[in-house]
């Protein structure tokens, strides 16, 4: 059932239509989740005993970090689908997701820096989470650079798919290695505090994560619409020609020449 759904929307035309219908509702959903989430985060939840008001950056930092990782895994998933089943729409979805993921990675870096500054007095700490976010940001940059450098769209799709898969396979290794490195050197660590999370904090966090997810989906669909529109010229005539050829049983014509008989040896 799920695979049938994927293949149904593998046609860029249908994906374009679906995306068009979903962008607006998803943006509203993001807003609907973000407003109560922010209200809870900024107003309702008490300030942390140790970190004061500054810890509220957590409510932006954690969703951004999680989404940046989740988006990369999603890109890898669509890349895998595209490579195995040769669907062009999945590659376009991966391309559409990449910039949003990169923005979230950058956001998690910046918010992490602002969060750590009051505590540690410096604008950057080499803890496990920030360091792996930095590496993830560079993975995104590599993907976007490869996408930019390729002019041929077919090669761009496959090359970026391979890169996304390679990066996804490396991602757990990167996280593991950075964590190992950090614990051995007993460096700084950013965490919400030793106390267990109050329910309002958890709710706020979940709402913000939901809002980030909806926003990601909305921007990805909007972007995929643009990508499909860019490539639409090819899709249309190709689809038309395919339908024509399927209907006519003609195997296509040999290229004729004016004087074929005369030139035959």
């Amino acid at each position: 059932m799920f695979s049938r759904l994927i293949f149904y929307f593998a046609s860029p035309m249908r994906l374009h239509a679906l995306a068009g219908r979903l962008v607006r509702p998803l943006l509203w959903l993001a807003l609907a989740l973000a407003l109560p989430g922010l209200w809870l985060a900024l107003v309702v939840t008490p300030a942390d005993a140790v970190q004061g008001e500054g810890y509220r950056l957590l409510y932006v930092h954690v969703p951004a970090a999680w989404m940046s990782m989740f988006v990369y895994l999603l890109m890898a998933f669509w890349s895998f689908v595209g490579l195995v089943w040769h669907t062009r729409a999945s590659a376009m979805l991966a391309h559409a997701l990449a910039p949003t993921g990169a923005v979230f990675a950058l956001l998690s870096l910046v918010t992490g820096a602002f969060w750590g500054q009051p505590m540690w007095g410096t604008w950057w700490v080499w803890d496990a989470r920030l360091s792996s976010s930095l590496l993830l940001f560079f993975l995104y940059l590599g993907y976007l650079a490869l996408l930019r450098a390729n002019e041929d769209s077919a090669r761009a799709d496959r090359a970026c798919a391979v890169l996304a898969l390679l990066g996804a396979v490396n991602l757990p290794v990167i996280y593991f290695s950075v964590r190992w490195w950090n614990t051995l050197h007993q460096g700084a660590s950013l965490s919400p505090g030793k106390a267990s999370m109050a329910p309002e904090m958890l709710t706020a966090l979940l709402l913000m994560i939901g809002a980030a997810w909806a926003y990601t989906a909305a921007t990805a669909f909007k972007r995929v619409q643009l990508i499909i529109a860019e490539r639409e010229a090819q899709a249309r005539w190709l689809q038309q020609l395919q339908d024509d050829l399927n209907q006519s049983d003609d195997g296509g014509a040999a290229l004729p020449a004016a004087d074929l008989e005369a030139s035959r040896a």
């Binding site: 490579l83 560079f138 077919a154 090359a159 890169l163 390679l166 990066g167 490396n170 990167i174 290695s177």
Partner: protein, 260 residues
Amino acid sequence: MSGEARLGVPAGGVRSPVELIDPARQIDVAAPAWAPTLRAVARREWLTAVRRPGDLLWHAGFFVMVAALFPLSLRPDPATLLLLGPGVLWVAALLAVLLATGRLFHDDLKSGWLDQCVLASAAAGVPLALIVAARMAVQWLLAAGPVLAVAPLVALQFGLNAAALGVLLAGLALGSAVLVALASVAAALAAGLRGAALLTMLMVLPMAAPVLVFGALAVHAAQGGAPAGAELSLLGAMLAAAALVCPVLGALALRSATEA
């Protein structure tokens, strides 16, 4: 005109096309053993590099130079050197290996040799991944060999003791193989594009971080007298995974490069 004008080919060396497609004769031209194909790929890589020994020396020289830049820019007292040594050596080795592998497939794509490789793999039934793996193996020898040869001298400059040096060499041998595998895939992805060398580096650097971390940690541990077995076996595991995954991905990348 007579049919069989073959220039200078001894009798029995070549068969006529009709025989080749005659099913009754069952002459199998399209599926010989894999060994000649893989050997040809490896030998070409090796011979081309050996004809330019300057390049090999330059890999070693680059390694020495980068490693020398760090003490020059910092305090060269023994304590600092001891602290910096493993990291500096690993970063320099990483850069040297990445630089060497950056343009691995670029010239072959332009000259049409990659086309022939793809066609030969289809005709002979050799998986393209194996051809890529053969090239990665030879490239490892060419990129890591000079670095490993010169590493003891540079390690002396940083005051590494014998145990740490041994761990450094073992770690470099394993880690450079992983780096060559990753960089080969990146080179295949970027082959023929503008700014290929820089693009390759950008793609590989985040993925090279684990190798760097584990390799440097291993040498740190050996410096302090602790066993480095855990980190080295992690490097070995990464090499095993890379040896399986990277040739397949590299073959995919090469196919998309030749299709363009």
